[in-house]
């Protein structure tokens, strides 16, 4: 069987497509759309194949590719997937596809830029997710800012420049510290072992003293915390979300997930002791985020504003799960990242459709849309219910595992977080009521309805709009009813991470927390020792 560098394709196919469309003619909207759809579609098929063949119950890297990049420094082009990132890679491809086939916002004749930046964003996110070399990761991490920055800055709302700038300054600040920490870790490990490498799998075994670990971890954590974002580093997000083209946020939500992914892949793996030490603090901030974000979402008067703060609250659950440091909670957190991508993706897409129909996202001006748009209302309903965490749909699985896991290690925080579930129900149901329910009778709204019928000459979803939403809804139900096959793909890798944080903390009696007793698999050391200059492509058995 021929072996292909699958991950490289997943990263560089959209990248090449993105660069290509940027060189299209200004007016070539159709061509840009078609190119984007073909590239994203192909990538999605490849990603689907990746998930289908990825085996369950194994830790360790698959589809690993390893090439020297700057050999003198030990920098490598090193990518791979394991249970931690495989689903996220698939999710990125799916959301990228949904974004480009969804109706495009009016981007002021900048279709080629819109297509190009979307594809580049997808490439950057995927690259950051699969990178196993810290420098490579950092390059992708920085790179993915650029298309997002331009998406907001060129295709966004009236305050787009301010928002883009804030986003950029904010996240760069975090990145800078992370870069310093990466170099410090590299030097430290080099001096200690004699091998200078940025390989995450190798650096994981570096014996960094506890106090140094703490500072390095903090530098990484700040970068991730800004990206996720964890309260109080979140204020860039509402601005960026409300100012960016709403459809682009379907993929844009993946950006923040690289932050939460980073906490697991780099935070917990490279600095297990520091993670353990700071876990209660970060988890507490996460719970503050759940409650604070939930309250702020209730107080919003704009559709996208509610969704923005809802993202902060939902990612709070994810961070709580990660820093509860046990198998249920981390699996839940990973699963919840996928769920949030799906449900927030669907909700942002619906917000974009509402915006296209009514020319507004203000909750004071919206209302009664379910009367004229029953199908849109149906999609909104099920997406909203997915985000609420209704059992039978996807998010329940993640939320339940997170809270159940957190309850075992951080019971007080878990109880507070569980109260956040009520806030979620309040703001999402109120959002639905204010947009879809009620009378569409005020003169203001009547005028809107009139504009709609004159402008769009359509009553409900077009087939294309439905096609963009259907895969998300199918996955709500699929992941909600049959999550076990997906959970089992993550299980062993998560167990290995958890094991690391436990070994790092022998002080903590294993009887203290029942979950730590028996991971089904022993921790897996790097199964593929570095080969000098070799290219390692592996197919799952």
């Amino acid at each position: 069987m021929t072996v292909y560098p699958l991950l490289t394709l997943l990263v560089f196919l959209p990248a090449a497509g993105g660069v290509l469309t940027l060189f299209y003619h200004r007016e070539a909207r159709q061509a840009a759309q078609a190119t984007a759809a073909v590239v994203a579609g192909t990538t999605l098929l490849l990603a689907g194949w990746l998930i289908a063949v990825f085996p369950a119950g194994v830790a360790g890297m698959y589809f690993e590719e390893r090439l020297p990049w700057v050999p003198g420094l030990g920098i490598e082009y090193h990518v791979g997937v394991d249970g931690i990132n495989v689903l996220l890679v698939g999710l990125t491809a799916l959301l990228g596809f949904v974004t480009v086939i969804a109706p495009w916002p009016s981007v002021n004749g900048r279709a080629r830029e819109y297509a190009g930046y979307l594809l580049l964003l997808q490439a950057g996110v995927t690259g950051a997710l699969v990178a196993l070399d810290l420098v490579l990761f950092f390059v992708f991490w920085e790179f993915m800012l650029i298309p997002m920055y331009f998406l907001v800055g060129t295709c966004g709302g009236p305050r787009r420049i301010e928002a883009a700038l804030k986003f950029f300054i904010y996240t760069s600040l975090g990145s800078l510290l992370m870069l310093i920490a990466i170099i410090a870790l590299y030097l430290f490990n080099g001096q200690q072992t004699g091998t200078y490498t940025f390989n995450v799998l190798a650096l994981a075994d570096a014996k960094v003293p506890a106090d140094a670990q703490l500072w390095l971890f903090l530098a990484f954590a700040l970068a991730f915390a800004i990206k996720v974002p964890i309260v109080p580093f979140h204020t860039w997000l509402p601005d960026v979300y409300t100012q960016s083209p709403v459809t682009a946020l379907v993929l844009g939500t993946m950006l923040v997930k690289v932050g939460s992914y980073g906490f697991i892949r780099f935070g917990l793996t490279l600095f297990p002791e520091a993670s353990h030490q700071l876990a209660p603090v970060i988890a507490a901030l996460a719970v503050v985020g759940i409650l604070y974000g939930g309250l702020a979402a209730i107080g919003q008067r704009d559709l996208v504003g509610v969704l923005a703060y809802s993202s902060i609250a939902q990612l709070g659950f994810v961070i709580l799960g990660i820093f509860a440091l046990n198998r249920q909670s981390i699996q839940g957190a990973l699963f919840q990242m996928v769920n949030h991508g799906l449900s927030a993706g669907a909700l942002f897409l619906i917000a974009a459709l509402i915006l296209a129909r009514t020319q507004t996202t203000s909750l004071d001006r919206l209302g009664g849309l379910a009367q004229s748009q029953p199908v849109l209302a149906g999609f909104f309903l099920i997406s909203m219910l997915s985000a609420v965490g209704l059992p039978g749909l996807n998010s329940f699985v993640g939320e339940f595992l997170i809270l159940m896991g957190a309850y075992q290690t951080l019971p007080a925080l878990a109880v507070l977080a569980t109260l956040g579930v009520v806030l979620t129900a309040i703001y999402l149901l109120t959002l639905y009521r204010k947009t879809m329910h009620g009378e569409a009778a005020s003169p203001d709204r009547a005028a809107l309805t009139l504009t709609l019928s004159q402008r769009e000459r359509r009553l409900d979803l077009t087939p294309r709009e439905s096609i963009a939403l259907v895969p998300l809804v199918v996955l709500f139900v699929w992941l909600g009813l049959f999550p076990a096959p997906f959970l089992s793909k993550m299980d062993a890798s998560v167990a290995a991470v958890v094991q690391r944080t436990q070994i790092a903390q022998p002080m903590r009696a294993s009887s203290e927390v029942g979950d730590y007793r028996s991971p089904s698999q022993p921790p897996t050391p790097d199964p593929y020792p570095p080969k000098e200059g070799g290219l390692v492509w592996r197919l799952p058995r």
């Binding site: 170099i183 504003g305 039978g392 878990a414 579930v421 049959f482 076990a484 299980d491």
Partner: protein, 632 residues
């Protein structure tokens, strides 16, 4: 035999799918027929299951059916598993039986509504969720059904969503239920931490060892039960829930939803029986709610509201029953109540339908002549509810009262409360009878040709339900078979006597109170109502107090709803923008206005800025290469 029980879930699921996705291709009238057929088939499954189960000896009446593995993470393993035993098969029978009649009734009453298809999709979803709830063999699947009925009730209460009040009532129901869901979630966490499993069977076996944690678990489960079954202090969603169509009220109040709390306590009895404190709280909440809701029901002018408060009150009886350890009596009352409350709602719906949607009893009056069948069936329901001798409610309510006075966990004080409530119950329901059907017609439609007399599709279910409202009690009295049938469930994890011998003295007392209540209602409301008005003036403060639910709603609005919204508004609009963002804004401003080096920023030249980023990245890489070259 247990394997076929999955079909009971499959039919309503298919009905839901049909009405949600496909029914647009078919005539609208078909949706109600398909939905009714789906529940009817489920009922057939329920009946066969029930009969097959009763033929078996007690020890063989427990069947587990695993459909698939749901959640796996670490040592947590949750299956989509169903438990067929006497308790779940009884619930299955009640839910599908009463549910089926309500579906059939709804074919006629919802005919012509533009949302007919959506309505029947939701109705089937409701039954499906309730069946999942009662058939689940573990706490997580229970939660699925539990939240599922909460969702369906939201959808159906807000069915006429263009009415703001309906949309708000739906959200209120969902949110109050979500508070209860938190209780269920936390109970599940505590159970898992304590026993490393969430399967009923293993949990109940382990619970036999006792322990303080069981009290905590019981109280958390109680929070969930109180929210779902509309008990004090979380009853507030149920009276508003009548904003939905009448069949929805019937379904919520009788077959699905509110009975779930009672079922939960009965199902988790091995946990509750280990905690006398928790059971005591259940009984107290039940008795207080029964009394509270009955007093409020005395004065409400809206007929559906009176019935709603009567449900709250009757659920209080059921809580009292299970709280004094008489689980069989609580479930017996649950069953009889399902018949007579569905009957009362559907009969009231007949009157409302006839008057073009009028629900205010003060505007009804004199309907007896035009709606004889509706009248008589309503009276049968009222007699059953009032505990009139020999009607079904008489036997089941009396069993609870007897257990409260003479059971193993007797509490005579609560028994007195239950007796007083019995008197009030008879009074308020016959007030409704007299106001609605007797006296002079007040409604302009009463005598016109626009009066919609209900057709056979509506009346046949009424007659069937009326029949059950009369005879359902004899199942217990004649053969004692009701408690006998359930006995294996309550004996499984340790002996526990559920059957209570009826006490002739208490029977006589409650029969007397019931008759006195009806006579009093006749005295006050049977004639020209001068006495009613005089009492209203004389005790105006009391009247206002009751009319406003003792100002509980206002208290919530003042203490919880408004402050939360105010804080949310402040956080979302002011605090986050000004205070938290202020620091960052300051940084940005400083960058902006300091130094010519960053003029690109001010010109907004994005390309230049992007170039800057790329240049920066290149510089960093170059530096690293240099470092590497120097190091290597």
């Amino acid at each position: 035999m247990g394997d076929s029980v999955g079909l009971a879930l499959l039919f309503p699921f298919l009905g839901f799918l049909f009405n949600a996705l496909l029914s647009r291709a078919f005539p609208r009238g078909l949706s109600g027929i398909v939905a009714s057929l789906a529940v009817g088939l489920s009922f057939v499954v329920a009946l066969t299951t029930f009969l097959a189960l009763s033929a078996l000896p007690g020890s063989q009446q427990f069947h587990a059916v695993t459909l698939w593995t749901w959640l796996v993470a670490g040592d947590l393993n949750v299956r989509i598993g169903l438990l067929v035993d006497p308790l779940s098969s009884l619930m299955l029978l009640v839910v599908t039986g009463v549910g089926f009649l309500i579906h059939v009734y709804a074919i006629a009453s919802m005919h012509g509504d533009p949302g007919e298809r959506r309505f029947f999709a939701y109705l089937n979803l409701f039954v499906l969720a309730m069946l999942v709830l009662v058939l689940a063999d573990n706490f997580v699947l229970l939660m699925a059904g539990w939240n599922g009925v909460g969702l369906s009730s939201y959808l159906l209460i807000a069915f006429w969503f263009e009415r703001d009040e309906a949309a708000r009532a739906g959200v209120k129901a969902f949110v109050v239920n979500a508070i209860g869901d938190v209780g269920l979630l936390l109970a599940a966490f505590l159970i898992f931490v304590s026993y490393r499993t969430l399967d009923y069977d293993q949990v109940f076996k382990a619970a036999g060892a006792g322990g303080a944690v069981l009290t905590a678990i019981s109280l958390l489960l109680l929070l969930a039960a109180v929210a779902k079954s509309a008990q004090l202090p979380l009853y507030v969603w149920l009276p508003d829930a009548m904003a939905g169509p009448t069949p929805v009220s019937a379904l919520i109040h009788a077959a699905t939803m509110v009975t779930a709390g009672v079922y939960l306590i009965a199902r988790t009895h091995p946990i509750y029986t280990q905690s006398p404190e928790a059971l005591g709280i259940v009984a107290t909440i039940g008795a207080l709610t029964a009394l509270f809701a009955a007093t409020v029901g005395l004065v409400k002018p809206n007929i559906k509201r009176v019935l709603a408060y009567s449900t709250v009150s009757q659920l209080g009886y059921m809580f009292l029953g299970v709280g004094v350890g008489a689980f069989g009596a609580g479930l017996f009352h649950l069953t009889t109540h399902a018949f007579f409350k569905a009957l009362l709602f559907l009969a009231a719906g007949g009157a409302i339908h006839a008057l073009g949607g009028e629900e205010d009893m003060r505007k009804m009056g004199g309907l007896r002549a035009r709606l004889p069948l509706v009248y008589w069936t309503f009276v049968v329901g009222a007699l059953a509810l009032a505990g009139f001798p020999l009607f079904s409610g008489f036997w089941s309510k009396d069993e609870i009262i007897t257990a409260t006075f003479a059971g193993p966990r007797a509490n005579p004080t609560l028994g007195v409360v239950a007796l007083v409530t019995a008197l009030l119950t008879a009074f308020y329901i016959f007030r409704a009878v007299f106001l609605t059907f007797h006296g002079k017609p007040h409604h302009h439609l009463s005598l016109s040709e626009h009066f919609h007399a209900p057709g056979p599709v509506m009346t046949v279910p009424l007659v069937i339900l009326a029949g059950f409202a009369v005879v359902a009690g004899y199942v217990q009295v004649l053969g004692g078979s009701f408690g006998h049938f359930l006995q294996p469930v309550f004996n499984r994890y340790g002996p526990h006597e559920v059957a209570v011998a009826l006490n002739p003295g208490l029977l006589a007392a409650s029969a007397t109170l019931s008759v006195v209540g009806i006579v009093l209602a006749y005295v006050v409301y049977g004639g020209d109502q001068a006495l009613a008005r005089r009492l209203g003036y004389q005790f105006a403060w009391l009247h206002q107090l009751l009319l406003n639910d003792y100002y509980i709603e206002d208290l919530y609005r003042l203490v919880i709803v408004r402050p939360v919204l105010a804080v949310a508004g402040f956080v979302g609009e002011t605090f986050d923008r000004v205070v938290v963002d202020g620091a960052v804004g300051g940084v940005v401003a400083m960058v902006r206005y300091s130094g010519a080096a960053l003029t690109i920023v001010q010109t907004g030249n994005l390309r230049g800025y992007g170039l800057g980023i790329l240049t920066g990245a290149v510089v960093i890489l170059a530096y690293l290469s240099y470092l590497g070259g120097w190091g290597g």
